[in-house]
Amino acid sequence: MESRVLKPMLAVYVVAFILFLYGPFFVLGILSFQEGPDGGPQFPITEWSTYWYRQIFGLTPPSRIAPLPVGEALIRSLILAFMTMVTSTVLGVMSAQAFRRKFRGSGFVFYLIVLGMMVPGVLTGLGTSLLANNVFDITRHWYTTAFATHVAYTFPFAFLVMLAILNRFDGSVEEAAWSLGVSPWKTFRKVTFPLIFPGVLSAMLFAFTLSFDEFPRSLFAAGGSEDQTLPLAIYGTFSVEIHPNIFAFGVLTTLFSFALLSVYGILMGLSVRRARKLAMQEEIA
């Protein structure tokens, strides 16, 4: 390969690519320190300040610009993401466990589940709200209809993660437990589950972040009601004038995501270390 010319060129290109990915964030970060409440969402920065950050936490005197309605929306989104995470991980583990045996129609079921991550949220959201309005005659809420569509979206991701984990899983440890007369449920709890736990963590992370940020499904399936989720609250500010408070909020949510990611990394590291310790003990024994 003409590494001497091509490789440096590609390296420079990749740097440009990363700048393209991150450029808007830098601008967003800078503008979040715009002076408030009169500074606009564009350059130049009239004066550096943390006004918009303080406004989010309600530390500024009331002004003509209303603070973002994020407090309750954030709590709703966290609860919804948590519910979605638990449900789709349980469904994902169950389905992937069933897929360890070839059953009739397994190909069809596989595509049925995987389709859930392909169908655009606009469609499932619209369909669900049509059903809620015209067939069941129920009010759409984030914790009912939106929750159902969120799981139909995140469950396929959890399923695929668990499928990949269980494909590499050595079943002989389970057989050992069964031949010693341990019940299947206890075997799953004491043997299988601890071994697949890293996969479960990844599935949970996927489901949580996807649901937390999910917007089109919520817009239709929870729309119309007063109790908005966080993405809906952000979308609400789109139609009216934009202020730097939304930028400050973007910086904060990014930091929050990093915190979440770090927790995941720590848990993952701990469980890997524990597995290694166990393996070492086994070797000694």
Binding site: M1, E2, L6, Y13, V14, F20, L21, Y22, G23, P24, F25, V27, L28, L31, P41, M94, S95, Q97, A98, R100, R101, F103, V109, L112, I113, L115, P120, G121, V122, L123, L126, G127, T128, S129, L130, L131, N133, N134, A148, T149, V151, A152, F155, G171, E174, E175, W178, S179, F215, P216, L230, P231, F238, I242, F247, T253, T254, S257, L260, L261
Partner: protein, 288 residues
């Protein structure tokens, strides 16, 4: 315990699949069937009734707004597919093939994924101060004396929608392509070089064909997301660019459920055709 019972237990009982099937049927298949059904309902000013009619379908194809949205969707989808591929492929080539160290390629991929932990809507919104008349790009270009007047076509045009979508979705191209490139047996490339093939020839005869499944997977990801879009086009075009998704949102907003459903069915059909076409190019089950 006999071997047969052990094997039966090992694979787990198959009723475990039932909750998953029921959930997907109830909250994905039935809703989409409902969209198809409602697209034939009768629309009155604020309500719909289940009397079957073709009125909404006729209205869709008779109106320039709606058919225009269909063509805009197809056009933007094709352009964004091309831009994400052109922008993403060199990056994937570097990450998947040229970087020797496993750690470095993982680090590069993680760098690409990090922006996804920021809210999608805020990522879209971040382009506004970037592209605006007094935005970062215009200021930088003016400071460098490349332009004297700010470029106004950057924001609230079709171009801004394309720029925004390209940035948001190009990583979905990079990932699968880099993955396929990483699996190429380096010995094949060595052998070709020993036989005197130049890089261009090696690329077109070996590297590109072997990366094609990754391109298709990336293209499916990008297509599915771009076709169902409405937030980026709404926020960055100032409602000038209307995709099928935007039509659905505005129709629902004005309680025109039947028209929203017709648009939904058309979107489903377009999506199905696109995915089927991609799966025809490459047999994924065989490749993966």
């Amino acid at each position: 315990m006999s071997d047969a019972t052990v094997t039966a237990k090992r694979q787990g009982p198959s009723w475990l699949i039932l909750p998953g099937i029921v959930w997907m049927a109830l909250f994905m298949v039935v809703p989409i069937a409902m969209i198809c059904y409602v697209s034939f309902w009768t629309q009155t000013t604020f309500n719909i009734s289940s009397t079957p009619t073709l009125a909404s379908w006729k209205q869709f194809f008779a109106s320039d707004t709606y058919t225009g949205a269909l063509w805009t969707t197809v056009r933007i989808w094709l352009i964004v597919l091309a831009t994400t591929f052109i922008i993403g492929y060199p990056t994937a080539l570097f990450v998947g093939l040229f970087v020797k160290s496993k750690t470095l390629s993982t680090v590069l991929l993680v760098i690409c994924v990090i922006p996804f932990w920021t809210s999608f809507l805020i990522r879209v919104l971040a382009w506004r101060p970037m592209l605006g008349k007094e935005g970062a790009i215009n200021i930088i270009l003016q400071k460098l004396h490349i332009i004297s007047q700010p470029i106004e076509v950057l924001l609230f045009t079709e171009l801004s929608v394309i720029i925004g979508m390209s940035q948001i979705y190009c990583v979905f191209m990079v990932g699968p392509i880099a993955f396929m490139l990483g699996r190429i047996d380096r010995n094949i490339i060595e052998a070709a070089r020993d036989l005197g093939a130049g890089f261009g020839r090696i690329f077109w005869k070996i590297i590109f064909p072997l990366s094609l499944p990754g391109v298709v997977v990336g293209a499916i990801f990008v297509s599915v997301m771009v076709l169902g879009e409405f937030a980026t086009s709404g926020a960055l075009s100032g409602r000038k660019v209307n995709l099928l998704g935007n039509i659905i949102v505005t129709q629902v907003g004005s309680l025109k459920w039947a028209m929203a459903s017709v648009t939904g069915v058309i979107l489903t059909v377009v999506m199905g055709m696109v995915i089927a076409a991609f799966l025809r190019i490459v047999d994924l089950k065989r490749e993966l």
